[in-house]
Symmetry: D2
């Protein structure tokens, strides 16, 4: 009954099975193997385009390496102020880019807008040697507020990027969750909308530790292999990374697990709306719920063994609840019941 | 019948099983879990001392992160000219240290000596602002020549390091292979001999992708956690990394797999000594054999389906043969027989 | 009649003369000379304490090198959002620190407050591996708004720094201007108030190109020499840098030039207050004036040959006017007269 | 009577005068001034080609910034093992390139050869992700052994660079000395021979502190301005840097000062050849002499007040003697006489 994050979960059985299946005999190391080749082919099919795919093991590696392709050391990367690259990666983008600036911007429900970015970039001192140079935009899809950019949002932002010569990165740690919410094709929300590089996440959605950097413009990919190696993110026994991704992409597993997580989030959010005093801070569009609950309900939930984060500090009542590929419906039901019960009792006491 | 490297192998069944076993229920992410705690405790027991242990997934990450603790950006790191950190990590140590110099030195059979290091350091310009400052020594154990440093070798080098204020790192990608050859305790060949930080390898010896940085002086460990995170080497689902290491260390598995690999190397080397024209370039002390074979024998082996590297180039006859935790005795026997047969036939033709 | 910046000016005659005087005979290079020694001694006398002094040629070098002593690559440096290190140095602090984050904060009239910093640091995730670690505070004295921190302001901020284990840097590109405004001793506004490292500026106040990094805690100085050299900021013919600083500090020249610049700013500001429609955006405490003037007055001033920046963009009427060591009183008088005349004429036309 | 280095000297009077002359009135800062423009134009005329010129104050800055244009962080830069970038810049190239490898190679009389470089590059693992990628060659002209590359030498090396896709940098800290020795045009020994970027030195040859990075391919120059600024090497009062270079290039001053230095070196070397036991280690082609003298002669010279370095350590008898733009013929004559006298006396004693 742990709703802290989708990374407290284990792996999908299909993915574990794939790892075991990959363990037969000698295989050329460092990615020159058939599984790795197949993962890239699967991604080409899924995204309906040529692309270069580089598996890595963590989201931070995927993001920071991606940004290092788009921003020079004197560049500026624009992102939402709650973005993982801005607040949760211990200055990894700065490390990988050689010292670029991550410029964090406000934005309702975790989203940036094209107008806002156009304005910020216009005032950024393009060509002026004293200022870090606007180099890239990074969007988080689904956002850190559990919301989702629509294809039109992304396309408008990409147009701002294109006009100003910036690259567009998408942090897709929860890409699958966003995709199944939107009901569009993977191409539509990425390269067709103007995304240059996608951190395509799998870990949070059922893998053990696997992400893949998807580079839609192969010219930009040339240097990635060297950057990945010198960062220590090239696995010698790559097959075990690729096996996870292969199973993840096989037969729509990644979409099924994301659909489940989103459905659980929706059910949980809907249920909580019947708790007196509950208020959602953001629309629930993926697998994260930001909900304000009465203090006594929160304490009651803790007493009943539910785990989650108070999002703004230990003395605040805004919770983040995250569902995942393996969230049990019964746990969701129990959570709602517990919240209702504790909220009601408090009201009785007050009355 | 692939003798290219110990990283072309799969994983030991016990380690695969441990991963599957670790996949139950929610576990706190980023290493605050019981498996990770147990790995550190196991290492304390094995090394008979307090220490800090940080699992990572690749040897390059382990080495480069370790060196970043020992060498400032204006530091010099001394190593053998064939060391992995010098020639096989695409300047990862330079990246992680922020620009330190990796100074590669010659040395017979892959080993450095205390006298050589004392001399080089004495001439390095200590305190002179124009020169990179001697900061660390990195030894590879077992070496890239398949040889092994004795405790006295390490202690003498550590004494040079200590006298000059340098840190001592050990790249133990094949630490287990060295250890079982020496028949000494892990403590004896590391911290008791003066090693400060050990890259303790598991991947080559039976894990999927798991190494652990062992820091014997906990004060030096303080910054490691931040360095690992900002490099993207902190796994969210750490349990799957720790599960590998836990099984690896459990009940001596790591020593058994290394003993097997070494025994296979010994058998292979012994057998090849009966091949006319064969000559060992280095003593065989771990799981690597550097052997010069007649050209026709090499071609015959290739024809028979054996895979390996010509170590000095495609037109050279020095081979590197690597055995591993899962090398089959039958394959070794077949290799020897093939070499003998092809060598003999050529001799017949000549005769 | 150029009020664009104090760096459009030439050098004080005394400083030029000192350079010429320094040009006699052979002198040991790289700073092991008597002039450099004397500069350090002068600074010890002026600041009434032991210290280490490192001349460099630019303010960006002084600031970025200073911060590299205080913040590790995973550190965060807090400063005002208009600080030079945040907006005018093309990510130099990020380069020199190896990727630390420069966190820019709002603040009235260019100043940060202790309460604000205490709050930000408290929410910064100290010890949490995912967040860049609060490492240093940088104050600009005088600020980019032409205002000045009082000793109590600095001491309160230093107390926040000390309690949280942060270093305190002062960007003193206009330190002399602040000092003569305050009328306190150099010690009082720096190390006695808790400043660890001071970028002590001379270029803007009469030198050709000379700043000196003053490190009050000599232990922190140990690595500076190496950092300066590897950045290419150690001059071989150091005497020519030191000669500038020596003359600057000799017989109070630095205070006289700053007093003149401040007096000119005061006179200019006072005069402009008689211009209809004029409004100061910030108190005038040093040698910078931020004044809003009517558009027709601005255009008239331009027509009359006065040069200055529109601070918020070409379509805005807020001007920055900077006076300097060599600003002529006649130019100030002429500026005021021109502004009044153009403002009056416009009013006539309107009437 | 200081022969330690050409950087123990002062400045040429013409250059000092130019600084004083530049000190009149307000001038736009950061290089948008007429003097800086004129320096670039002079260089275009001198090198008979379009180019981009960036003044900086130190040779280390010129070299490290130049290399950062040619080598990516995972690149390798090849140079002579005595090159300034390899041994005298405290890992500045590593810092500026973001961690590239400086690969130092042996070579007679301070020179590399095309054949040697072709061989090293051929074995460097081009395209192999594990190896730092051959990116640039850096030649020192004149070399650290006081010798000079001929145009054909440079052209042959440039051809190796071109064939392998490497950039070619020339460290011309003593470029003028090399040029007047060769008697060729500046174009002939640089871009016409295939040099991409030249660190054009002035400090050692008569300036106070001024070098200029000459980029022959303007496309490569685009990023230089940002790199220089973020390194703190963009001077606000640029006119004082440019004034030095302007005077240096005016009316052949730079060639006259270099001719003088070279002539003094030749005279000194010729004279020393009459000292019993004297032996030159390298041909004297510029302004440096490497000469082995009898120990008693060295001690006598020291007693007589001559200063110089024992090049290989305090117990060795190889001296480096450097002449400069202001070396007095009388000092040279005195040096020779002193050496002869002390050598002769010792012989008498022995006899």
């Amino acid at each position: 009954m742990n709703f802290c994050s989708d990374n407290v979960t284990g792996a999908a059985p299909e993915i574990l099975a794939a790892i075991t299946a990959a363990n037969s005999g000698a295989v050329t190391s460092y990615g020159a193997d058939k599984l790795t080749e197949r993962v890239e082919q699967r991604l080409k099919d899924i995204f309906e385009t040529d692309l270069a795919a580089f598996p890595v093991a963590t989201g931070t590696a995927a993001n920071a390496l991606s940004l290092s392709l788009l921003a020079p050391p004197w560049g500026a990367v624009y992102c939402h102020q709650d973005a993982h690259i801005a607040v949760d990666e211990c200055a990894a983008p700065e490390f990988y880019t050689g010292g670029a600036k991550v410029v964090d911007l406000p934005g309702e429900h975790g989203r940036l807008t094209a107008a806002q970015l156009a304005d910020v970039i216009a005032r950024s001192g393009k060509g002026v040697v004293h200022q870090a140079q606007a180099a890239a935009i990074s969007l988080t899809q689904a956002t850190e507020a559990g919301t989702v950019y629509r294809p039109d949002d992304v396309a408008a932002i990409a147009e701002v990027a294109r006009k100003n010569g910036l690259g567009l990165h998408m942090d897709g740690a929860r890409f699958a969750n966003a995709l199944v919410f939107l009901g569009v094709s993977p191409a539509e929300i990425t390269w067709r909308a103007g995304v240059d590089i996608l951190s395509f996440g799998a870990t949070k959605n059922g893998a053990l530790a696997a992400e893949v950097v998807v580079i839609f413009d192969r010219k930009r990919a040339e240097e990635f292999a060297f950057r990945r190696k010198r960062a220590g993110h090239l696995f010698s026994k790559m097959r075990f990374l690729s096996a996870q991704l292969d199973a993840y992409l096989d037969n729509g597993l990644w979409l099924r697990t994301a659909r489940h997580a989103n459905a659980m989030a929706k059910r949980l959010a809907d249920g909580l709306m019947n708790v007196p005093g509950a208020r959602l801070a953001h629309p629930v569009e993926a697998n994260e719920i930001f909900v304000d609950l009465p203090e006594h309900a929160i304490r009651g939930l803790n007493t009943d063994g539910f785990q989650f984060y108070r999002w703004l500090g230990d003395d605040k009542t805004l919770l983040r609840l995250v569902t995942a590929h393996d969230t049990k419906e019964a746990d969701v039901t129990a959570f709602i019941a517990s919240a209702k019960r504790h909220a009601a009792r408090a009201n009785e006491r007050v009355a």
